[in-house]
C-alpha cells in the first residue's frame, strides 16, 4: 500500500482496490476520500473500479443463485421421489393385502383348498350342524341388484351343483355364551343341513327388514353372504352343495 497520501492515489491499482474493498484503516480512508472531493478523474477511476468489482460480484451471485435453484429443485425432487416411492410401496402392500383377502375369501377359481377352517374344535353337535364363524371381508355401500332377494330362501347354483340356502337372523344376545368369540370382524353363525336345504343362522346385533341382500357361492366349500353393508365369507364344512 504505497503512496496512499500522494495526491492521485487512484493511480495505484492496489490502493484503489483496497479502498473499494474497505481494506484500509478508517483514518487513511478519510484522507483518501478527502482527495476524491477535489479530483474528478480520481472519482471516475473509483467509479470504474467499483463497477468492475460489482459486475464480478453480480456474476458470482447469479451463478450461486442458479446453483441454489438446482439444489433446491433436486432436493424437492428427492422429497417428491421419496413420497412417490412410499405411495407406490403402500399401493403394492394394499394390492397384496387385497389379493391375500381375495384369495382367502374370494377365490372364484374353484381350486382353492386353503380356506381357513372356521369350525371351532368341539363345536360339532352332529354331522349336520356346525357352529361356524364368518369373516367380514369388505363393507360395500351397494349390492348388485341381481343379488338382491326379498325372502330369506336362496337357490344357489354353480356348475352342476345346486343348493337351497335358508338364512335366519338371531340377536347376538341369543348366542350361547360358549360360542362367543373375541375375533374382530367376525360373525358367528349356526349351520344346519336339513331336507329343505342348508339353514344358516347369523347372530348379529342389527336387525333390518332387508336382512339378507344376497348370497353367492365362491368355492365348493365357501359362500359369501351379502348382509346389510357387509360381505361375510363362510367356510362350509363338507361343501355348500353337500346333501344330508
Amino acid at each position: 500500500m504505497s503512496d496512499v497520501n500522494s495526491e492521485h492515489w487512484t493511480m495505484d491499482s492496489d490502493v484503489l482496490e483496497s479502498f473499494i474493498l474497505q481494506r484500509i484503516d478508517e483514518s487513511e480512508t478519510g484522507k483518501l476520500a478527502a482527495h476524491l472531493k477535489l479530483c474528478l478523474d480520481c472519482r471516475q477511476r473509483v467509479q470504474t473500479e467499483k463497477e468492475f468489482i460489482a459486475g464480478i460480484r453480480r456474476y458470482g451471485r447469479l451463478e450461486m443463485k442458479y446453483r441454489l435453484q438446482q439444489q433446491v429443485q433436486h432436493n424437492q425432487n428427492k422429497r417428491y421421489d421419496w413420497t412417490q416411492a412410499a405411495s407406490i410401496a403402500a399401493a403394492i402392500i394394499l394390492m397384496f393385502g387385497a389379493l391375500f383377502v381375495f384369495r382367502e375369501f374370494g377365490d372364484f377359481g374353484m381350486t382353492k383348498n386353503s380356506i381357513r377352517e372356521i369350525v371351532l374344535p368341539g363345536d360339532k353337535p352332529s354331522q349336520q350342524a356346525f357352529w361356524i364363524t364368518g369373516r367380514v371381508v369388505t363393507t360395500a355401500r351397494h349390492y348388485h341388484e341381481t343379488r338382491s332377494h326379498q325372502s330369506n330362501e336362496f337357490i344357489i347354483k354353480k356348475g352342476h351343483a345346486v343348493q337351497t340356502v335358508i338364512i335366519h337372523h338371531a340377536m347376538f344376545s341369543q348366542l350361547p355364551h360358549t360360542q362367543h368369540t373375541d375375533e374382530p370382524s367376525s360373525i358367528r353363525a349356526y349351520l344346519e343341513r336339513t331336507p329343505q336345504g342348508m339353514q344358516l343362522t347369523l347372530y348379529t346385533d342389527s336387525m333390518t327388514d332387508t336382512l339378507i341382500a344376497g348370497i353367492e357361492p365362491v368355492t365348493p366349500d365357501s359362500l359369501i353372504v351379502f348382509y346389510q353393508r357387509m360381505q361375510i365369507a363362510f367356510h362350509i364344512p363338507g361343501g355348500w352343495a353337500g346333501k344330508i
Binding site: S13, I20, L21, T48, K50, E51, F52, I53, A54, G55, I56, R57, R58, Y59, G60, R61, L62, E63, M64, K65, R67, L68, Q69, Q71, V72, N75
Partner: protein
C-alpha cells in the same frame, strides 16, 4: 433453557457449515424460511415465483456477509433472512412504482440494506462485466471470483487453484483483469478485438 441450547447449536452448526462453503446449509435455510418469506411476499402483492427469487437472493446476501466478515450475529438467522427479503422486495416494489400498502409484522431489521457495490447492480457497465464473465475462461473465471467475490487472500487462491505462490496469483489477476476489460469493451461495442 433447553430450547436456547438447541437454538444456539442449530444456528452455530448452520453458520459453520456456511463458513465452510457447505451449500447444503443454504438449501436447509431455504426450506426453513420459505413459509415466512412466502407470507411476507404474497401479502404484499408478490407471486410464488417472487418468493423463490427473493428468498434465494436473501440467502446469497447472508452467504456474502458471512464470507466477507460483515455478518454481525445479533439475531437469529431467520430474522436476518426475513429482514433482507423484506428490503429486497420493497426495493423492487418501489422500483416498479407499484401502488402498495405495505403489510408487515414488526420485525427487527438486521439487514443494513444494500452496500454501495450492490446499489450499482443495474448499471450498464456492471451488466456488461457480468456478461463478459460468462465468456472468460479459466483460470481467470475462478481467480476473479475467488478474489473479488469470495474475497479470498492471494495465498488462499494459490492453494485453491494450484498456483506456485501469492505473487503468481497477483500477476495472473492483473492479466485476467485486462482480459476481462477487453471482453467488456466487446460487449459494449467499444472495441474491435
Amino acid at each position: 433453557m433447553q430450547t436456547q441450547f438447541y437454538f444456539f447449536n442449530e444456528e452455530s452448526k448452520l453458520l459453520n457449515a456456511l463458513r465452510n462453503g457447505d451449500d447444503h446449509a443454504l438449501v436447509d435455510l431455504f426450506h426453513q424460511n420459505r413459509r415466512s418469506i412466502a407470507s411476507l411476499i404474497i401479502r404484499n402483492h408478490g407471486t410464488e415465483d417472487d418468493v423463490e427469487d427473493v428468498l434465494q437472493e436473501s440467502l446469497i446476501i447472508l452467504w456474502e456477509r458471512i464470507h466477507h466478515g460483515s455478518f454481525e450475529y445479533q439475531a437469529k438467522l431467520s430474522t436476518f433472512i426475513y429482514a433482507t427479503a423484506k428490503n429486497i422486495w420493497f426495493r423492487r416494489l418501489s422500483r416498479h412504482r407499484r401502488e402498495i400498502s405495505i403489510t408487515d409484522d414488526t420485525f427487527e431489521v438486521a439487514d443494513k440494506g444494500a452496500t454501495p457495490l450492490e446499489e450499482l447492480e443495474e448499471n450498464e457497465r456492471v451488466l456488461a462485466i457480468q456478461q463478459a464473465m460468462e465468456q472468460i475462461g479459466n483460470p481467470c473465471h475462478d481467480l476473479l471470483l475467488l478474489y473479488y467475490w469470495k474475497e479470498m487472500s492471494m495465498e488462499e487462491i494459490a492453494r485453491t487453484l494450484g498456483f506456485a505462490n501469492a505473487d503468481t496469483v497477483k500477476s495472473k489477476k492483473y492479466q485476467c483483469k485486462k482480459v476481462l476489460e477487453r471482453l467488456v469493451k466487446k460487449v459494449l461495442g467499444e472495441g474491435h478485438e
